[in-house]
């Protein structure tokens, strides 16, 4: 390659580089998809969801009535993992011997079981799914529309350590809003035992304007793809 052609190549290469940057940004290279950091306690979703058959909204109790899904209060954990289990905190069950579970030991430390719960502290869970400040995401609208949790969060029931399953980029959101959500596909991701959260009863309105409210019907799993509003100001404000 002569010097001259070398110099003429530089603008072209530069353009190529810029193109690569733009393309990777557009295709979601900046997404945290796949990120699954270690948590303060190794919380086993598979045990709770698959073995024990718990519904997501038992712990994430606000998902069907609030923009926030809600993290379970420490008292929710203690409701099942009660203080009687101090010592070998997994009692003998069936053919499984009693043993000390490390995550539960940690949980009891947070709950301050030894001190009678006086100095109970919340577990500082590492956040995984987050949309930016300029995006508003109402969980309850999606849950009540019959969208399964797994459609966005992936097969949580199989995740020993939760990771971000979807890109959460705007294109990913809009795809569903425009082309529609397929309830059958979404249902395939859930465990067989899982049921959708019951429709939320009418919310108490701040100034008492809940008149005319009618109970919602259970979202159906069949039927056509469900589209939604995709105007910018639905989410961005």
């Amino acid at each position: 390659m002569s010097t001259r052609s070398k110099w003429t190549a530089i603008p072209g290469l530069l353009a190529l580089a810029i193109g690569a940057v733009l393309l990777s940004a557009y295709s979601g290279a900046s997404s945290a998809e796949g990120r699954g950091p270690a948590q303060p306690i190794d919380f086993p979703h598979p045990v709770h969801v698959q073995q024990l058959g718990m519904n997501c909204t038992y712990c994430h109790y606000a998902a069907n009535k609030s923009p926030d899904a809600g993290m379970p209060a420490m008292s929710t954990c203690a409701g099942c993992h009660n203080a009687a289990a101090v010592g070998p905190n997994r009692p003998k069950r069936g053919d499984q011997p009693a043993r000390t579970s490390q995550p539960l030991t940690k949980l009891f430390e947070y709950l301050d079981i030894k001190g009678g719960g006086v100095n109970a502290k919340p577990v500082p869970w590492v956040r995984i799914h987050k949309v930016p400040d300029y995006v508003t995401f109402p969980h309850m609208r999606h849950v009540n529309a019959g969208i399964t949790c797994q459609s966005c969060h992936g097969k949580i029931q199989e995740m020993g350590q939760v990771y971000q399953a979807a890109s959460l980029n705007m294109g990913w959101c809009v795809n569903c809003h425009v082309k529609g959500y397929d309830p059958v596909e979404g249902r395939k991701l859930t465990p067989a035992t899982d049921s959708l959260p019951a429709p939320h009863p009418p919310m108490a309105a701040p100034h008492g304007v809940a008149e005319g409210a009618t109970p919602r019907t259970t979202p159906s799993f069949t039927g056509e793809r469900k589209t939604a509003r995709y105007d910018c100001a639905i989410c961005h404000y």
Binding site: M1, A9, G12, L13, L16, A17, A20, V21, S24, A29, S30, A32, R35, A62, K65, S66, P67, D68, G70, M71, A73, M74, S75, A120, P122, V123, P124, W125, R127, I128, K130, D133, Y134, V135, T136, P138, M140, R141, N144, P202, M203, A205, P206, H207, V209, A210, E211, G212, A213, T214, P215, R216, T227, R229, Y230, D231, C232, A233, H236, Y237
Partner: protein, 1052 residues
């Protein structure tokens, strides 16, 4: 290119991507509750009823609380007084709650320095001091209605102290005394709508004279009667906000009001009164004639001169004479919030006792006499004679600086209480959240603790002591005292209002001061100008100055902010060679203050006016108190009433003597001053722009006669507008634009459902799209006949939409930094999404003697159907949503500001600096002010354009709620923050495409017009013209100047 080179480049560019891409990894923690509180859902607001304590009225409020933090206050619709409205001061109570300059815990002074101590040490100190004898001790409390008065009286009796002083420096003692004498109540309800003529003698009932919000609601209702609305005449030397709302201004010289009132009562001649007042006799004669003809009338008096009581008595007599009592003056629905208030003369007497060394101990709670008492009284000198001084203040104010011990109280939004604003109705004050600073404690509980410390001879130990403390708290006391007991108390919390009457505090009047030290009459004083002072409608007696929203709120009259100013008539200014912004020196009694001049048509040429409220100072040099060794602003407090108040403006009371009026109240207007041009000049911090409309027809008005013609004929419709045609007036051509979600020419074929366009994908803009988004057209009406210009909407908007304040001295550029408060505002960087434009009409030559009219126009994004901002945006950051909103997408915006240039209404605001970014010095929400931020609204970053969104977050919240409940939106189900706050009910928001919403009915009003309709912007904001009532006889004689020369001796 060789293959190897290509791969090299590819590798390099990939590496660049990897290093430059933003890292989304650090997304924080999700920290759950340990025990979830009942009846709360994370992410959903909880609403608590409470009571506003920003002034003595005590309006019922609803505090919106999200995840344990109060974010927004609104009026409680169940309150018969405030009826769901809330003023700017009330709105900004949350900035008092989250003020970064709040004390974190008790403090003790040692010499000139302060140190933090524990509550244990603090209560022990007080208990020891009280044990040593405090018989003549004083407790000075900011007046608040309700049970705390009674509680305090009981406690003081137990401690062997005298009854406390319940003071409110903003209150008009003279008016209250006259009301009691004439009507039997301290403050009757003024039924403006029942009157045919309102005459106010300096009674600024919209500025804070009495119960502002209820009075404004009633006044706006009266003005909304259109043709039948009462005419309003204002008599006074300075046109206040109230005065600007009047149809006629009689610019009487201060001190001449009594002569005019006497003339109106039939004593003396018009000429005599006119001679004293310096106004034409014909004006007074016409007023007298009108008063006799227009019955019932309402006459109000609240003057600042030394004869205030006599004037108030005369006004009351006039009401009795012309049959106003019972109709316009409603004694059956009185405001009882001021009952039990201590007259100011007792505070003055108490200061003298302190100076004489008769007071062993002083407690001060919630009030700041070191700031607002005139320096002629030398409060600081008196305090120095008191051996032990305790402050319960939340903030490091001037009074606290003089004390020995600080026991920081809880904010009213964190504490329990009751209030009684109107007869037979008790409002409950409940905490909306846990204390922001765990180291602060409710004063009532502290007092109980002190009692416990003193009485426990054999102190209980351990659990027994803890149990006693729980039993013995103020909340339990409150519930025991409550009519109906704890059960009724708990049941009443939901609505916040309970039928009943609280035990009244025994009147303490006369326990301390019997004599009145009346100020010398103005006529006997030396000086060129009479200084009119008044409590600022924004800051009150100065207590609002530490709240950045209020600092950033332009004064409703002058539009000056972050500053003090001297109001000077243009005639005077011309004579003295003073221009706007020139620094002038106001001197009296050998003292002086300096402030920029504001040339104001609405002040007499022989008077100058200054507001109380600014000019907070600290004698502590460095000014910071640090909790721990830190430079972190979030962990230290600034003496001098906080970082937002300190060294902003001046206090006119520095030059005032302690003059009293004949009722013993403070005489606000009792001093003559000299005025001197210093030669210095500075840009006045103001958002005023031009005070004139220059024929643009922004604020339109018609007379009652023209309105009558409109209503009964229609032929007159083309004529109104003051004789000359205003573009766009008298047409309803905008209606199609308002009706259809998208104006046809804005969206081209997308907006046109014609046959040839069928089959084209109009997407969301198709009204038949399954989302049905395009069937709505969000719109707003603003009734200028109702709007008083009070600016409550502005502060409500700041609170709702996370709007940063930009005027703090440290918030300007890093390079070429200028530490002038409000500097950014002088560069036009303020961010008020809604602003109140104030225009003067008439008196173009600015001559004294010719009347002028004022029009207030709330101006916000007009959400044009055919918006000029939209096509110029290169990145589609602003566009028209199918439901009629002009949307600004912050994450798209790259900050070209083309949209702002192209906006005819100038309602778009640019984030010049990182006001929303925590790590910048311009950050507008230092911890814990950021706790207030509305979680539903994005905090905008640097370089982003922003503007009114029609509270889109409230629209979406209501839509979500309706969808969850399986229903359509109910008409008028929700409204925007400005409309919710408006104490005039001037703003109405809703869906103009649905005839069941109020807004679509109001948009059909005959007074409706669009601003700049000729630009075909198809705005979604419809203004209703102001209605003027010029009166048959009030036409001012053009050019006939009746100005008494300012230098002439006042003929008093």
């Amino acid at each position: 290119m060789k293959r190897r080179t290509f791969l090299k480049v590819l590798g390099a560019s990939s590496a660049a991507v990897a290093t430059t891409a933003c890292s989304p990894d650090d997304v924080g923690k999700l920290v759950p509750y340990t025990v979830s509180p009942d009846q709360t859902v994370p992410g959903v607001s909880t609403y608590y009823t409470s009571v506003c304590r920003e002034c003595s009225t005590g309006c019922g409020i609803i505090a919106e609380t999200r995840d344990g933090r109060t974010t927004k206050l609104e009026g409680n619709p169940a309150d018969p007084m405030s009826r769901g409205a809330l003023c700017a001061r009330g709105q900004s109570a949350v900035q008092g709650l989250y003020n970064p300059d709040r004390f974190r815990g008790p403090m003790q002074r040692s010499g000139t320095t302060w140190k933090a101590i524990t509550w244990d040490e603090a209560t022990t100190l007080v208990a020891q001091r009280l044990g040593a004898g405090a018989a003549n001790g004083l407790f000075i409390n900011q007046h608040e209605s309700g049970s705390f008065n009674t509680f305090l009286e009981q406690w003081l009796a137990g401690a062997g102290m005298r009854p406390h002083l319940s003071v409110d420096f903003e209150a008009d003692d003279a008016a209250m005394q006259a009301h009691r004498e004439a009507y039997g109540v301290a403050w009757p309800k003024f039924d403006f709508a029942a009157a045919r003529l309102i005459v106010s003698f300096g009674a600024d009932f919209l500025d804070g004279w009495g119960a502002s919000v209820p009075q404004q609601l009633d006044f706006a209702d009266a003005r909304a009667k259109g043709v039948d609305a009462p005419r309003f005449v204002y008599v006074g030397a300075r046109r206040s906000l109230t005065g600007l709302n009047a149809d006629q201004w009689i610019a009487a010289r201060p001190g001449s009001e009594l002569a005019i009132l006497n003339f109106l009562r039939g004593q003396g001649t018009a000429e005599q009164a006119a001679q004293a007042a310096g106004v034409p006799a014909a004006e007074l004669q016409a007023l007298a004639t009108e008063l006799r003809a227009a019955q019932p009338a309402l006459v109000l008096a609240g003057v600042g001169t030394d004869d205030a009581l006599e004037v108030a008595r005369a006004a009351a007599a006039l009401n009795q004479q012309f049959g106003g009592v019972g109709t316009t003056v409603r004694t059956d629905q009185p405001v009882v919030a001021y009952d039990g208030m201590t007259p100011i003369r007792e505070l003055f007497a108490a200061v003298e006792q302190m100076r004489a060394g008769q007071v062993p101990v002083v407690f001060i709670r919630g009030t700041n006499p070191a700031y607002y008492l005139p320096k002629g009284l030398d409060f600081a000198g008196a305090m120095a004679k008191v051996p032990f001084k305790v402050s319960f203040s939340l903030y490091p104010d001037e009074t606290t600086e003089l004390c020995d011990l600080v026991l920081p109280d809880l904010h009213s939004l964190e504490s329990w209480g009751t209030a009684q604003s109107t007869r037979g109705m008790v409002s409950l004050q409940q905490p909306a959240m846990d204390p922001v600073f765990p180291g602060t404690r409710a004063t009532a509980d502290v007092l109980l603790g002190i009692t416990g410390r003193r009485t426990a001879a054999a102190p209980a130990t351990g659990a027994a002591a803890a149990a006693a403390v729980v039993q013995n708290n103020y909340r339990n006391w409150l519930m025991q005292q409550f009519p109906g007991g704890a059960r009724a108390f708990a049941a009443g919390l939901a609505s916040g209002m309970v039928q009943g009457t609280l035990p009244a505090r025994a009147a303490t009047a006369g326990t301390m001061a019997t004599s009145v030290r009346r100020a010398p009459a103005l006529a006997q004083q030396q000086g060129d100008f009479i200084l009119v002072t008044y409590p600022s409608p924004v800051f009150g007696d100065g207590r609002g100055a530490n709240k950045p929203w209020l600092q950033e709120l332009p004064d409703p009259v002058t539009k000056v902010l972050w500053s003090s100013w001297v109001e000077i008539h243009p005639d005077t200014a011309e004579r003295l060679g003073i221009e706007r912004g020139d620094i002038v020196e106001v001197s009296a009694n050998g003292k002086s203050v300096r402030a920029p001049a504001y040339l104001y048509l609405g002040v007499r040429p022989d008077t100058v006016a200054m507001a109380l409220g600014q000019g907070h100072r600290s004698g502590i040099l460095d000014g910071w108190f640090e909790y721990g060794d830190t430079d972190d602003d979030a962990k230290r407090v600034q003496w001098g009433y906080g970082r937002y108040a300190r060294n902003v403006g001046v206090n006119p009371f520095d030059v005032l003597p302690a003059g009293q009026n004949d009722a013993g109240g403070f005489a606000w207007t009792s001093t003559k001053v000299t005025l001197r041009k210093t030669g210095e000049s500075d840009t006045l911090v103001s958002t005023e722009g031009s005070a004139r409309q220059h024929g643009r027809g922004i604020a339109q008005a018609l007379t009652a006669t023209q309105l009558g013609g409109l209503m009964h004929g229609g032929a007159a419709a083309a004529e109104h507008g003051g004789g000359h045609a205003i573009a766009g007036a008298a047409s309803h051509e905008f209606q199609p634009g308002l009706k259809s979600p998208v104006a046809a020419d804005a969206q081209g074929v997308l907006g046109s459902p014609s046959a040839e366009n069928q089959g084209k994908d109009k997407g969301l803009y198709d009204p038949n799209h399954p989302t049905r988004m395009a069937t709505r057209r969000w719109a707003m009406t603003v009734d200028l006949a109702r709007c008083t210009g009070c600016s409550a909407c502005v502060t409500a908007c700041y609170a709702e939409n996370n709007i940063p304040t930009v005027g703090a001295p440290w918030q300007n550029a890093t390079v070429y930094a200028v530490s002038k408060p409000g500097f950014n505002v002088t560069r036009g960087r303020e961010m008020n999404w809604i602003r109140i434009e104030r225009y003067f009409e008439g008196n173009e030559q600015a001559q004294f003697g010719e009347d002028f009219e004022t029009r207030f126009v709330p101006m916000m994004c007009q959400h044009c159907g055919n918006a000029p901002c939209e096509p110029v945006c290169p990145v589609y950051a602003t566009y028209h949503a199918p439901d009629g909103l002009n949307v600004q997408v912050y994450n798209r915006c790259v900050g070209t500001r083309y949209c702002s240039n192209n906006c005819p209404y100038k309602v778009r605001y640019f984030n010049w600096f990182g006001y929303g970014e925590e790590d910048r010095k311009q950050y507008a929400f230092p911890e814990p002010l950021n706790w207030q931020l509305n979680p539903d609204v994005a905090v905008r970053g640097k370089g982003v354009m922003e503007k009114c969104s029609f509270c889109v977050q409230r629209i979406r919240e209501a839509e979500n709620r309706a969808a969850m409940e399986g229903r359509e939106l109910i008409p008028d189900e929700f409204t925007t923050a400005c409309a919710a706050a408006c104490p005039s009910r001037a703003i109405v928001f809703g869906d103009a495409a649905d005839p069941n919403w109020s807004v679509s009915r109001l948009a059909q009003d005959r007074r409706a017009y669009h601003v700049f309709e000729e630009l075909n912007t198809y705005t979604a904001v419809v203004y209703l013209k102001k209605v003027n009532h010029p009166g048959a006889t009030a036409a001012p004689a053009a050019g006939a100047s009746t100005t008494a020369p300012a230098t002439a001796p006042a003929a008093h």
